[in-house]
């Protein structure tokens, strides 16, 4: 279903401006969507478990700073170190959520402001340039000459996580937790563990998205990704994942991220004036969800 929304949107943009449907333009759009797709994919896991992760964008910003700061010392290991630290931070949030029983909304909202503050302080409130671009160069390559490596990686990540879910009992655990946490717990499923794992993966994805942003901007900055929070959550919902948990998939979020990206870059490029662009954006995301959500799976729409 989300694919239909994507195709319709693409068709509409092409009608508005026939030049939009060129291979170069599509490649650029797909490349643009990669960090958003990775952020959304990670957070989708948390949403599937019935929670929400509002810290992804701030964590992503923080990781760009960490990456830029560590690169001179750690060199090639920086990527792994940055993703690892982001994952660990995600895990800490997950632990705070399950151990202290604080709603995930609040934990991650708190996390959001804490990560922002830390990023601001350690970066001395400014961007950190990257001189040695070799560490991120691989992300700027193209697979087969057309598919941007960053998007390819995003697809790979989604595929890998989806496959692990599908082939192991994890998918059952995640869905059971999302649909009905108390039943899942009384069935002896590792609810707490699954939630912490979801937050960890979400953190790692934020880390990976950070690397992608750094490869694009040649710097790390304490507010670099902050504005990606709402688009990422919008991508999840536009993909048709139920915000109440249980129903949905990472693939849906990937498509959702493409839809949101097309809206963000497509509308202004085809010449919609900025005030109308916002009105259209609002109307289209609502319409897209109306199209993508499978209502037989989500009985009550909140």
């Amino acid at each position: 279903m989300p694919v239909i929304a994507l195709v319709v949107l693409l068709a509409a943009l092409t009608i508005a401006d026939p030049d939009f449907l060129t291979q170069r333009s599509l490649t650029a759009a797909v490349r643009t969507s990669a960090p958003l797709a990775v952020l959304a994919a990670g957070a989708t896991l948390v949403v599937l478990c019935g929670g929400i992760d509002l810290s992804i964008a701030a964590l992503c910003s923080l990781t760009t700073v960490l990456f830029a700061m560590w690169l001179p010392d750690l060199g090639g290991l920086t990527t792994l170190a940055a993703i690892g630290v982001a994952a660990a931070i995600g895990a800490v949030q997950g632990l705070a959520h399950v151990v202290l029983r604080i709603p995930s909304f609040i934990v991650t909202l708190g996390g959001m402001s804490i990560f922002s503050a830390v990023a601001l302080v350690i970066s001395d409130a400014g961007p950190i340039r990257i001189v040695d671009r070799d560490a991120t160069k691989w992300l700027t390559l193209y697979v087969g000459g057309v598919v941007p490596m960053s998007f390819f990686v995003a697809v790979l990540v989604v595929a890998a996580i989806s496959l692990v879910l599908k082939l192991t009992p994890l998918e059952s655990f995640v869905r059971a937790t999302g649909y009905s946490e108390s039943a899942a717990r009384l069935a002896g499923t590792p609810v707490d563990l699954v939630k912490v794992a979801a937050f960890t993966v979400s953190g790692a994805c934020a880390g990976l998205a950070a690397i992608m942003l750094v490869s694009r901007n040649f710097s790390g900055s304490p507010t670099m990704a902050d504005n990606l929070l709402l688009p990422a959550v919008a991508a999840i919902v536009v993909g048709g994942t139920a915000i109440t948990g249980g129903h949905g998939s990472l693939w849906r979020s990937l498509v959702g991220a493409l839809v949101i990206t097309l809206l963000r870059v497509g509308l202004p490029i085809v010449g919609v004036p900025s005030a109308y662009e916002q009105i259209l954006y609002g109307a289209i995301i609502v319409a897209a969800v109306a199209l993508t959500l499978d209502r037989s799976k989500v009985l009550i729409i909140k």
Partner: protein
């Protein structure tokens, strides 16, 4: 296998000066159209475009760095043959990718306000010029004006802009210079209000109760915050506090005329909106060659004025002066290269 190209039509940069005037595409990009300064900027761009018989594509990115990058890469994925861009990067870190992108795609680029200090414009062919106002200077000028207004001694507070922007840092550095020159002026507190009128209102109210009558002056890193501070003063019934800002937005000028505000520093939005397009247009159509632009004109401070009650009348209705955009005149407002 992997390659570095996005495939398809690879463009290694257009032949400078090869464009017919009617083929040029003019793009102006600012944060949003919902504040007067940036709306005036885009209007200035429109005025220039009209002057050369073209239209300007107005882009806004809502103060969202990622969105700015996304728009630009999408723009550069289109036809870049005779593309001229006058860009307001959201922050220092947003400039390098824009520059790299333009360089690769062969679009003509002028940036304003934000640029990392170590990024050298002369290293690039398509990045024609970077224009900014001397923030340290502005911060110092209004700091001095404030010191004078409070009689050379007393407590002031500073309202900083978005902390991780160069503008906020430079302006605050200017204030510090001014404080060094006016030893009897004491900085009681500095807080950030993120360049926002609404936040400045709340922060100022709190600072007023915190420092009470010790507070004699408010130094704001832009006029919006100064206006928010003025509203807070009015609500607190305080008329004895001097307020200064930067940008010369119309409301601030009115406030200076009324005498409620002490000083601001001009930054000419309409001119900024036109000048970037003008430089790009001149190069694209061959009237100006990149090699001929002097190194000090590749990154320069534009002329600015301290506006106080004495001279405010000269600035209340900024007009676009077509002569400023003549190819011979485009660098006429330069106050020298950015050091």
């Amino acid at each position: 296998g992997c390659s570095e190209e996005a495939g398809g039509s690879s463009s290694g940069g257009s032949e400078a000066g090869a464009c017919a005037p009617e083929d040029v595409t003019l793009v102006g990009q600012v944060r949003n159209e919902s504040n007067p300064y940036e709306a005036a900027w885009l209007d200035g761009g429109d005025a220039f475009a009209e002057q050369v018989g073209l239209t300007q594509d107005r882009l806004t990115y809502d103060g969202d760095s990622t969105r700015q990058q996304e728009q630009i890469s999408q723009l550069l994925a289109g036809d870049t043959e005779c593309l001229v861009m006058n860009i307001l990067p959201n922050g220092d870190s947003d400039t390098p990718p824009i520059v790299e992108g333009a360089e690769e795609a062969g679009a003509y680029l002028v940036t304003q306000w934000n640029k990392p200090a170590d990024l050298n414009v002369a290293d690039y062919d398509q990045w024609l010029s970077h224009i900014t106002y001397n923030g340290v200077e502005s911060g110092k000028q209004i700091g001095d004006a404030l010191a004078e207004a409070i009689g050379g001694s007393g407590g002031i507070v500073a309202l900083q802009g978005i902390l991780d922007t160069g503008a906020a840092k430079d302006r605050f550095a200017g204030l510090e210079e001014s404080l060094a020159a006016n030893p009897d002026v004491e900085l009681l507190d500095d807080q950030t209000a993120n360049f926002s009128r609404d936040e400045a209102l709340a922060v100022t109210k709190t600072l007023l109760t915190k420092h009470g009558d010790d507070l004699k002056g408010i130094w704001a890193a832009n006029d919006d915050m100064a206006l928010g501070a003025l509203a807070a003063l009015e609500q607190a019934g305080r008329t004895d506090v001097a307020v200064v800002g930067i940008d010369a937005v119309p409301d601030a000028l009115t406030a200076i005329e009324d005498g409620t505000m002490t000083a601001t520093v001009s930054s000419d939005g309409p001119w900024q909106g036109g000048i970037g397009l003008a430089i790009g247009f001149c190069v694209a159509t061959g009237e100006l060659a990149v090699e001929d632009i002097a190194d000090e004109d590749r990154a320069w401070f534009a002329e600015q004025f301290l506006i106080t009650g004495d001279n405010v009348g000269d600035f209340t209705s900024p007009e676009v002066d077509a002569a400023d955009f003549e190819c011979d005149n485009v660098f006429s407002r330069s106050q020298g290269a950015i050091s």
